[in-house]
C-alpha cells in the first residue's frame, strides 16, 4: 500500500493540465518584456536585435510621466477613500442591528456585477446634466464606486473574524466609541486595511472604461496607453512601459500576499 493518503497521491493528468494552464496564462504576458528589448518597431518574429532604447525614450516621455502621475494620484485617492468608506460600512454591517441591512448591502455591492460601461455612461450623463466638467475628480468618483464593494468584501471577513466582546471590553474599560475604534478596532483590522488599499489602488490603476468616459483633458495611464496604440512607432514604448508595470505589479502582489500571511499566521496562533 502507498504511504501517502488518497488525496496526496500524485496525479500526472492534473500536473500536465496545471502546467498547460500556466503556460496559457503567462506566455502572452512574456512577449511584453521580450519585444520591449527588440530593436524593431513592429511586433513580429524574427527578433532583430537587443536594445534598451525604448526604455530610454520612455524616460524622456513627458506625457507618459504626466499620465502615470495622474493614475497614481487617482489610485491613491480612490484607494484611501474607498478603504475608509469600506471600513465604516463593514463595521456597520457586521456590528449593528439595523432595518433594511441586506438591501443596503446589496445596493453597495451592485457595482460588482453591473458592467462598467453602463456605470460609465450613466455617470457621464449625470455629470453633463449637472454641468460638472470632466476631470480627474470625476474619474476618481467613478473609481470609488467601483472600488467600495471590493474594499467591503475584503474587510467584512476581518470584522467577522474577531470577537465582538473585544470591543465591548474596551468600552467597559472606559473608552468611548471613538477611543475603542482607534485603540482596538483599527489595529485589529489593519492587515485588512492594507489589503483593501492595495486592491483598490490596483483596480483604479488599470481601470479603463470609467476613465475613458469620465476623464477630461488629462488622461490616466490606461487611457494614455490606448492613445499610443494608434501610432505604430509608439508601440515598443508601450511594451517597455508594460514591462515595468508588470514587474511592479508582481512586487506588489507578493507584498500583499506576505502581509496576508502575517495576518493569518497570527490568527492561527491565537486560535490555539
Amino acid at each position: 500500500m502507498s504511504e501517502v493518503s488518497y488525496i496526496d497521491r500524485p496525479n500526472r493528468t492534473l500536473a500536465v493540465y496545471a502546467i498547460a494552464y500556466l503556460l496559457f496564462l503567462y506566455i502572452p504576458v512574456l512577449f511584453l518584456p521580450l519585444f520591449s528589448f527588440n530593436d524593431a518597431i513592429y511586433v513580429a518574429f524574427p527578433l532583430k536585435g537587443f536594445t534598451t532604447k525604448w526604455y530610454e525614450q520612455l524616460f524622456n516621455n513627458e506625457p507618459m510621466f504626466a499620465a502615470l502621475l495622474n493614475s497614481v494620484q487617482v489610485g491613491a485617492v480612490t484607494a484611501t477613500v474607498s478603504t475608509l468608506l469600506g471600513v465604516f460600512a463593514a463595521k456597520a454591517v457586521t456590528r449593528y442591528r439595523m432595518p433594511g441591512k441586506n438591501p443596503v448591502v446589496g445596493f453597495i455591492m451592485l457595482p460588482l456585477v453591473i458592467p462598467g460601461i453602463i456605470f460609465g455612461v450613466a455617470l457621464l450623463i449625470l455629470m453633463s446634466r449637472l454641468g460638472v466638467p470632466l476631470s480627474l475628480y470625476t474619474v476618481t468618483l467613478g473609481h470609488i464606486i467601483v472600488c467600495v464593494p471590493f474594499s467591503m468584501a475584503t474587510l467584512i471577513p476581518r470584522f467577522e473574524g474577531f470577537d465582538k466582546s473585544i470591543e465591548e471590553a474596551s468600552a467597559d474599560l472606559g473608552e468611548n466609541m471613538f477611543g475603542t475604534f482607534w485603540r482596538v478596532t483599527l489595529p485589529m483590522v489593519f492587515p485588512g486595511l492594507v489589503a483593501s488599499f492595495l486592491l483598490c489602488f490596483t483596480i483604479s490603476f488599470d481601470e479603463f472604461i470609467m476613465a475613458f468616459f469620465l476623464s477630461g483633458t488629462e488622461p490616466t495611464l490606461p487611457i494614455f496607453i490606448w492613445n499610443q496604440l494608434r501610432f505604430p512607432q509608439r508601440v515598443p514604448g508601450v511594451l517597455a512601459l508594460g514591462t515595468i508595470i508588470l514587474v511592479i505589479s508582481f512586487a506588489v502582489v507578493f507584498f500583499a500576499q506576505w502581509i496576508r500571511n502575517v495576518g493569518i499566521h497570527d490568527k492561527t496562533k491565537r486560535g490555539m
Binding site: A169, L173, G174, G179
Partner: protein, 367 residues
C-alpha cells in the same frame, strides 16, 4: 454585608429582544462587598441581566441603580463597573502589560505610577514576569487572570463576571474558584457572578439568585437554597431531590403533618409558603438524607419498604434507586461509601428499607 443602602438595586427590570422576553420584571438588591451569583440554565436571562448592569443592553422597562445612581442614561464606558468576559476578550494586538493598563489611559497617571500599578496587579494574579507576553502565549487560566487584573486595576465598585471559569478544565476550575473567592475577600469589591454550574455557585457565593425563563425564582444563601428551597423549580434545579405527592393534615407552627400516601403520615418543616389543611403539596427529600438498610430500622421516625432497582458506584459515594409500590418514579438515595467496597456494589434486586428523620424533608407548594 453592610446595613446601609445596597450597592446594586435592580427594580422591576425587563428586557425584550423583539418578541423574545429575555428578562421579565426582575427585582433584586445586592449589598456592598457581596459575592452574588446569578444561577440558571442557558437562556434563563442571567447573562442579559449582567449585560444590562454593564450597560451593553438597555432595559425595556424598570431601572438599575448602582451606588444609588440610576444607570439607564449612563453608557458602558462611564459606569463604575467592570466586566470579565466569558471569552476573556484579551486584546490580541497588545501584550499583557498593555492589556492590564488599558483602562488607565483616562486617568493620565505618570508612567512610573502606572507601571507600579500593573506590577501590583501581576503580583495579585500570580503572573509576575508575564508582562511582555501576548494573548496567544497564554493558557486559558492565565488569560482569565489577565482579564481579571485588567478589570480590577480600575478599582470598580462592582465586578461583573460572565461564566469566567466555563472554558477551564475541572481541576483548574476548582482551583480558580477558591482563588477567585479569596481575591474577592481581599479586595472587598462587590462581585456579580454568572454561572450555570450550581456547584460553582454554591461553593463561591454569599447569596445566589436562581433564574429560569427570565424570572427570578429564589434569592438566598447557598445552604438555604439547598436545604430550604422555596419552590419546586429551585428544588429540582439545585442538586437532586425526590418529590412525593402529599396533602396537609395539620400545621403546627414550623412543622406540619402531611399524608404522603404509601409513605404514611409524615412530619416535616414548612418552608416559606403558607399552607392550610387539605392543601395538595409536595414532600421533597434529598437523596443523601435517606438511609438505606436491609432490615427495618428501629429508631427512625419515618421508614418505608421497597425493592432495590439499580445501583451505581461513584467512588466516594454510591447511588441507589429504590422502587416503592404506589410511587411512580424510583426513589434516589445517595450513600457515603464509608467502608472499602472491593467486591463492587451489590445491585441485585432485593427488599430494602428507606428511612429519614422528620427535619430532613421539605414541604413545597405543588404548583
Amino acid at each position: 454585608m453592610s446595613s446601609s443602602d445596597p450597592m446594586i438595586s435592580i427594580r422591576s427590570v425587563a428586557k425584550s429582544f423583539g418578541p423574545v422576553r429575555a428578562v421579565e420584571a426582575v427585582s433584586m438588591e445586592i449589598a456592598e462587598g457581596e459575592f452574588f451569583s446569578l444561577l440558571g440554565p442557558s437562556g434563563c436571562g442571567k447573562t442579559t441581566l449582567l449585560r444590562m448592569l454593564a450597560g451593553f443592553e438597555t432595559p425595556t422597562s424598570g431601572e438599575i441603580f448602582i451606588d444609588d445612581q440610576p444607570m439607564s442614561s449612563v453608557p458602558p464606558h462611564q459606569r463604575p463597573v467592570n466586566m470579565v468576559f466569558q471569552s476573556y476578550a484579551i486584546f490580541p494586538h497588545l501584550n499583557v502589560r498593555a492589556n492590564i493598563a488599558y483602562g488607565l489611559r483616562k486617568q493620565k497617571l505618570p508612567k512610573q505610577q502606572q507601571n507600579a500599578m500593573v506590577d501590583e496587579m501581576l503580583e495579585l494574579i500570580k503572573l509576575p514576569g508575564y508582562g511582555d507576553r501576548r494573548s496567544h502565549e497564554l493558557s486559558g487560566g492565565e488569560r482569565q487572570r489577565v482579564a481579571l487584573a485588567r478589570a480590577l486595576i480600575k478599582r470598580p465598585k462592582v465586578l461583573l463576571l460572565d461564566e469566567p471559569l466555563g472554558a477551564l478544565d475541572k481541576q483548574l476550575r476548582e482551583q480558580m474558584q477558591l482563588e477567585l473567592r479569596a481575591l474577592q475577600r481581599s479586595v472587598g469589591i462587590t462581585f456579580v457572578f454568572v454561572t450555570h454550574d450550581q456547584e460553582e455557585a454554591l461553593t463561591m457565593s454569599d447569596r445566589i439568585a436562581v433564574m429560569s425563563k427570565g424570572r427570578c425564582l429564589q434569592i438566598d444563601t447557598p445552604n438555604r437554597l439547598y436545604e430550604a428551597p422555596s419552590n419546586r423549580e429551585v428544588a429540582a434545579f439545585i442538586g437532586t431531590i425526590n418529590f412525593f405527592d402529599a396533602s396537609i393534615k395539620s400545621v403546627n407552627g414550623e412543622t406540619a403533618n402531611v399524608d404522603a400516601g404509601v409513605l404514611g403520615e409524615v412530619k416535616a418543616p414548612v418552608g416559606d409558603g403558607t399552607f392550610a389543611s387539605g392543601m395538595k403539596v409536595l414532600l421533597a427529600i434529598r437523596p443523601e438524607k435517606l438511609s438505606i438498610e436491609s432490615k427495618k430500622p428501629k429508631r427512625s421516625a419515618h421508614a418505608v419498604e421497597g425493592v432495590l432497582d439499580a445501583a451505581a458506584y461513584l467512588g466516594e459515594r454510591s447511588h441507589y434507586y429504590v422502587r416503592v409500590d404506589g410511587i411512580e418514579r424510583p426513589i434516589a438515595v445517595s450513600a457515603q461509601n464509608a467502608h472499602r467496597m472491593l467486591e463492587g456494589i451489590d445491585d441485585q434486586p432485593r427488599p430494602v428499607w428507606l428511612s429519614w428523620s422528620s427535619d430532613s424533608a421539605v414541604i413545597l407548594d405543588a404548583k
